[in-house]
Symmetry: C2
């Protein structure tokens, strides 16, 4: 029988509770959003005692469902002031679900803001230990120490120095299936919320874990096979396919071709050095350098897409996993840095300090705009990142993100929505993703309605990226479907396969029905997706957000983006129509 | 015939324009607010090309009306994102009005953000000169150079280094009647807007100024005598009265007694060192030290209250004018600094860099909370101010104000509303002023509805400061009356006399009728005040502000303030009722 673990940091108590009926069928984002909406005052201070962090594996997480070991983390985000769900693939949710833990709710706040704690969770209960010894450390160092203390298969969730310092670009770190401290629920600054609660790490002891209860094993197996087959068939997700061969950075050349690769702090849509940092270059270097270098690496259990990589130095020694498209772009093209070794070093630093790489890279770009470094100066960029990790001097500016940094230096070319940095797609050149950035319940976020699929990749349709017509609907439909997908515990990347292959989509639903004993159809997928979005939107409205917050920054209306020389010209009414449902 | 001077900084043009009919009767805040609402897109970036700065003397400014040489500066504020009117007493509006200049509108933005300009305005037109030679200077140094260039009676308006760096605590500086660079339209960061437009100084050549046209000289004279008599009679404003003898800092002891003097970054309502920094202590030191030391100094022409002072060093040499209550408190009690010489040095630095002293002091308090200095450490506080003026390292954090600094260091005890620092009255101990802070159209602002008069000073009524009942109405009525008063060009301090003495109030209306040829009554005062507020509120709503922004920070709901041990407990519904008119 599933439980919820409620952790109060004010008096350091932790107790298992029954799952209330209304949460029985929920998982992932559906559950984190619902609990946040039920328990957190929308107007509360994100770093105050009234905010909460809710952690939940997806509905099918912990089972053999393909590519399903995702965990959702919810709360009110310091970066945006909105509700937030950030998710990651890791061994943590896989084991947590198998322990019968439907959610962990972390609430309250200790009196002493300098004291940090570690929470040990097992089937018998949860115990606090002082965690000060890990404070100030690199995350890889802390994880290593925790493996020595608790065993090297221990699932860990925690924050780096950035979270300790309550920085708005602090993510929440989880271990990958090889034990690296590298998988992030990165966006929105939820790491700062955990820091404000004095919770440095949670470790799981999953011995005697009962596993996930499956109501209809046969149906579940039918479903997961359908999804598996779809993933193995689709050119984007299949073994040896685009993601598996080149990782997510396969998108570098594609977006560059489309003129939609934000370059030099969103002042151009193409990057001269694109080929040098592209997924193809990563793949080639991994093969050439050998040693630890690897593409086609899986970040979490059950994944059959395996799009992660391990970047090696010239001698084949591991530098970092993983150079994702977003990190590669943010710290590369966006800063006009075309050196993968330098980018790898920066990704490594982000992982060590606990930073969201997108927010970090866009912030460095804004800092370059402010004259703190020349565009293209990787050495200086690395120095700036180190200042963040140490919280020294202007590190306290940069650590609060791109919007904050832009304000500190009085700039207007600051690519953010609701205070969150835009990801690696230029909204002026790819209109639909701009609609998603503007209207997402979480600030500029590509994952909440990935219109890049139909606009750039001809997946789930084939739309003209520069065309405005119909993009509100495209974004809306994808936002709805994604909200459901984020509830299941699957990685967003199954979307490629299920958008194009109906059987795969059916398989996803059958997996859920198999686990839960429900009879959901595609209509339920839509209804649940809408329910999640409505709750999130309601939270934001109660927090004071309105239509004027669903806007793309002024400079994108005024400045033409080369090479297409286009401005942001989607009418406000179209943005305001996205939530008409 | 009055004119408007329209200045475009994109192409550096400046032309006199006829005053459109709808603005004919307006002055001061009424005019700046109306032009901003008519011409500025509420959602524009405050530092982008679409924002404007509007400068306007009051309706009776430039005449012999007592205490009437105020200037309003309007625009969209970088600190708050709201509309803003900040005003100052100076020779500038006095001469500007006499030149027949009803308003200066500064719009557009040059391409090169590093180039600064000086605008010479005379009856014949307006001419641009490069101003780079003044950049980076202390303001007193620049003003001195401008006097040598243009004559020592030249009215000057301009920004310091903080405005050049587009900092949100940058005010707009004007000269006092002795030529000091010390009178500020301080709040909201309008200096940053001027900086974003590359306009460093405006100088007026008022030779052959025709003077203010007065439609009915007799009525005007009747009115101004009534107001003069009221000012001379009221214990707060009369010669040798509270303000004249002790300056505004007479309030230090009074608020301390009331338990409403925010101390140690708004964690207590009383300050042990209050008596050492009180107006009485300023007066005593000025007398004892002699030399340049002076209380009862007038900041601007026509003032008969004369509440300014000149602080001398131990040898009687001038250090700074003026140690206002707000500056004294912000840099003193709020930082637990009880040394007037140190406070004077800090006020001097604020004047030199062009900083709003309230925002600066509250920011230093928050920085102390963050551990950047010990409370009470004046030397360190001075160092922090110098970092702001130079824009080095964390100076870029502090220069953006208290809310920004609080976020940089992950704090929750941050006393701001809509991003603007609270002034020197604790809302938990003086409920009505909290209602004004929360609902003012400009962020936390005492001057927009000074309930301290009836709540603490028994002026215009006698209310219990700790009582909630009726405070929405008190704040509303004062906000309405103040909006009108800010249109007239009178200093807010005439309010003491006109609230208690009906003839004085009548005199103010008759002055306006005398100048304009109107037949306004008290009902028109209310109607015009409401019109101004509605326009401002409308601007803010169109910019995305709603009820959730009209709130006092969470920590004041949660933490009890000694000595009364009270929290902020005014119901939200009461706040939301303030604009029910």
């Amino acid at each position: 029988m599933s439980k919820i673990l409620r952790v109060n940091m004010e008096n350091r108590t932790a107790e298992f509770q029954e799952v209330p009926d209304q949460y029985a069928l929920m998982g992932g984002r559906w559950l984190t959003t619902s609990i946040v909406c039920d328990e957190v005052e929308p107007t509360c201070h994100p770093l105050g005692p009234k905010n909460k962090i809710v952690v939940a594996p997806g509905i099918v997480t912990g089972t053999a469902a393909p590519t399903s070991a995702r965990i959702s983390v919810g709360g009110k985000a310091p970066l945006t002031g909105t509700i937030k769900e950030a998710n990651a693939g890791s061994i943590f949710p896989y084991r947590m679900a198998q322990m019968g833990l439907k959610a962990i709710i972390i609430e309250g706040q200790p009196e002493d803001p300098e004291q940090f704690w570690l929470l040990e969770v097992s089937k018998d209960g949860a115990t606090f230990q002082p965690a000060d010894e890990y404070c100030g450390q690199m995350l890889s160092e802390s994880f290593q120490a925790l493996y020595e203390r608790y065993g090297d298969k221990t699932p860990i969730m925690g924050i780096g120095t950035s979270g300790e310092m309550r920085m708005s670009m602090a993510g929440i770190c989880f271990n990958d299936q090889d034990g690296r401290a590298t998988r992030y629920a990165g966006r929105g600054g939820l790491g700062a919320v955990l820091g404000s609660k004095g919770l440095k790490f949670i470790v799981l002891d999953y011995s005697d874990a009962p596993g996930v209860e499956i109501a209809d094993k046969e149906l579940f197996d039918t479903g997961r096979r359908k999804l598996r087959d779809a993933l193995r068939e689709h050119p984007v997700t299949k073994p040896g396919g685009a993601l598996n061969s080149y990782g997510t950075a396969v998108l570098i050349n594609i977006l560059n071709e489309a003129g939609g690769l934000p370059t030099r702090n969103f002042s151009r849509g193409t990057f001269e050095g694109a080929a040098k940092i592209a997924g193809e270059a990563i793949n080639a270097a991994c093969q050439e350098r050998g040693g630890a270098g690897m593409t086609g690496h899986g970040c979490s259990p059950t994944c059959i897409i395996q799009c992660s990589n391990v970047w090696p130095d010239e001698d084949g020694n591991e530098v970092v996993s993983c150079i994702e498209y977003e990190s590669d772009w943010a710290l590369g093209a966006n800063c006009e840095i075309d050196d993968l070794d330098a980018i790898a070093k920066m990704v490594k630093l982000c992982n060590e300090y606990g930073l969201d790489t997108i927010e970090a890279g866009v912030t460095i770009g804004v800092a370059m705009e402010a004259g703190l470094a020349e565009f293209g100066d990787a050495k200086k960029a690395i120095k700036l990142l180190k200042k963040i990790g140490k919280g020294k001097g202007i590190g306290r500016i940069l650590g609060q993100g791109a919007a904050f940094t832009g304000r500190a230096y009085g700039l207007t070319r600051v690519p953010t929505v609701k205070g969150q940095a835009m990801p690696a797609y230029e909204p002026r050149a790819v209109k639909g993703i701009g609609v998603t950035y503007a209207t997402s319940t979480m600030g500029a976020d590509h994952t909440s309605g990935y219109t890049i699929a139909p606009e750039i990749l001809a997946v789930g349709g084939d739309l003209d990226a520069l065309e405005i017509q119909g993009k509100a609907e495209t974004s809306r439909n994808l936002q709805v479907a994604t909200a459901f997908l984020d509830a299941t515990g699957h990685c967003l990347f199954i979307a490629f396969a299920i958008l194009d292959i109906a059987e795969g989509f059916q398989g996803m639903i059958e997996e859920c029905n198999g686990v839960l004993g429900t009879n959901w159809t595609a209509d339920d997928v839509t209804a649940i997706g809408k329910e999640i979005l409505k709750k999130e939107r309601g939270f934001n409205e109660a927090a004071g957000f309105g239509p004027m917050d669903d806007r793309i920054p002024e400079f994108m209306h005024l400045e033409k983006l080369p090479p297409h020389n286009v401005t942001w010209d989607v009418p406000d009414e179209m943005l305001d129509s996205v939530y008409d449902f």
